[in-house]
Amino acid sequence: MTTATNTLTRRPRVNLTVIAPLVALLVLIGIGMALNPNFLSWANITNVLARSAFIGIIAIGMTFVITAGGLDLSVGSMAAFVAGLMILSMNMLTESMGPGLPVIFAGIAIALATGLAAGFINGILITRAGIEAFILTLGTMGIYRSLVTWLADGGTLSLGFEMREMYRPVYYSGVAGIAWPIIVFAVLAVLGEITMRHTAFGRHCAAIGSNEKVARYSSVAVLRVRLATYVLLGVLVGIAVVMYVPRLGSASATTGLLWELEAIAAVIIGGTLLKGGFGRVWGTVVGVLILSLIGNLLNLTDFVSPYLNGAIQGVVIILAVVLQRNTGAAR
């Protein structure tokens, strides 16, 4: 909304709003290059991109949810729960079917189906039972976190050794030196951007987030679109887990801790409005990269005390948002 008005009246300022996250990203890359020569090494770039993929894939779905005026706090716990269930069922299947590709495919199917179901539960309760999204997902966040702790008996669920070796390449190898998580993240980001910009679904999300009543009078199926955003997010959580499990082959009560907040932060840094009505997927991708890069830079230097890592992240998040909002507020 805001951006649309600005496009008409103040072109130069709008450009700053649009490119602010990109500028922040470039500044971080510049700092990285100056601080450590290994920063731009192929290994480091792949590491950062691959580790961004989990939050990134989830954040793409979160962009749609937030654009449609919703919120989902349960995604981190949901990821842990899906990962736990996937590992448990793969271990059981290995016993009955023996190790092999079918177990991996079954595991992937289970992860996606569980993600879909979890997203559907969130969505249906928010749209049909009319529970506030913040409260409902706060509840499911606790439920999924407890369920994974319970599944793991308080410890860690680990994939059996043979299956771990067989499944490992999904995280560690790829095509032409580009790891699979990066490829999947990139493809989903492009699809997400197209969906947001060029499909009825994307425009309906923005319309609902902007003004639900008007959207309803314009014959947008508000409840169904809302529900769809949560289901989409659930499936994307499933995909993120499919990429996550082969990395360490384990899930525990600490898996995916605070992912929901990182995903939401990435979405907002990327220029999507927290109150809904406007969202952009490419901005979210930039937001995710900004967050990962901060962590990476802090590890590559002794510049600041590790005690202050969180503070640095906080400052960058606030700066990135202030940079964009300034123009909006001055309107």
Partner: protein
């Protein structure tokens, strides 16, 4: 004074009111990471065993995920369950000191486990691991095995007193050995954080001879990152707390995981058993009981392997 208290408690139970069943309250942190998971496992196991041995006794086991909730749990135990003894692993020292002190003053036997209170003399019995020795044992191994000028990186836990004591012990053992600590950062006792941290260190330092990941969850993350970088041959990793996968690798003489240092989560069993022993037998048990950290080597690894434990 303390001995009198046990004596009275014991007398009350054994002679004055033989039929009166006693209640033991146990409050520990929830299973939010591997070590705490094992703590819960051992607490459960011990309560089951003691319940069978003492059918008259009642055990109240609560797990908490933050200090505030733990205070409420303790208040509930005193108010509604009328406990005779309390075994508590304080979530944090400062906020729990006051509430536990009030419980102790009301005549309840108090056993504090692992995390000491911020004032001395409140608890009747203190059972704890030795964090200084945990760090020192690992550091001593580094000093003995590595050459002068060797380069190591250190993964710390969640910033806390426990972590500070361990690192201080480690640094004290390294003193004068000529070993260079390249970097030290918090892996927060978390596999994923440790994985990312190790990846970044591997990108940053061309030469690393050893990693001290002060917890086995972090060691798992570090090992995966080292494996990914193809530098498994160049360095060894010492974790801590005796996770069973690690113990198994030591047993198999894995050169990357040569040793481990114990910090037994089963100390909760020690604490509960001693408390119940005090209640039932009247034997004097007040004081401190410090469980040393030991070095697990291929020779003694079999003694530290618990098949059923989740950790």
């Amino acid at each position: 004074m303390k001995t009198t208290l046990i004596a009275t408690t014991a007398l009350l139970s054994l002679t004055a009111f033989p039929a009166l069943s006693q209640t033991v309250g146990i409050s520990i942190p929830a299973a939010t990471h591997g070590w705490a998971g094992a703590l819960n496992f051992h607490a459960d196991r011990t309560v089951t065993r003691l319940q069978e041995a003492n059918p008259d006794m009642t055990f109240v086991l609560t797990t908490t995920s933050d200090p505030g909730q733990q205070v409420s749990d303790l208040e509930d135990m005193v108010a509604t369950r009328n406990i005779d003894a309390l075994v508590v692993l304080p979530f944090e020292s400062e906020p729990l000191t006051g509430p536990i002190q009030r419980i102790a003053e009301s005549g309840v036997w108090v056993t504090v486990v692992d995390r000491g209170l911020s004032q001395e003399g409140i608890e009747n019995l203190y059972v704890a691991g030795d964090n200084d020795s945990f760090g020192r044992t690992a550091g001593q191994y580094f000093a003995d095995t590595l050459e002068d000028g060797a380069k190591v990186v250190v993964m710390r836990g969640i910033a806390s007193t426990v972590d500070n004591e361990r690192v201080a012990g480690f640094e004290a053992a390294l003193e004068g050995s000529g070993i260079e600590v390249l970097a030290m950062d918090h892996g927060n006792w978390n596999r994923d954080t440790a994985f990312n941290l190790m990846q970044d260190w591997l990108a940053r330092f061309p030469e690393i001879d050893a990693v001290w990941a002060a917890d086995d969850d972090m060691a798992v993350g570090a090992l995966a990152a080292i494996d990914q970088a193809g530098r498994t041959e160049d360095m060894f990793v010492v974790g801590g707390a005796g996770m069973k996968e690690m113990v198994q690798r030591i047993q198999n003489n894995d050169p990357t995981v040569p040793v481990n240092v114990t910090y037994p989560p089963a100390m909760i069993s020690t604490a509960i058993e001693m408390t119940v022993l005090g209640l039932t037998s009247g034997a004097p048990l007040s004081g401190e009981f410090i469980i040393a950290s030991e070095l697990i080597t291929p020779e003694n690894a079999a003694d530290y392997y618990f098949e059923d434990s989740p950790y």
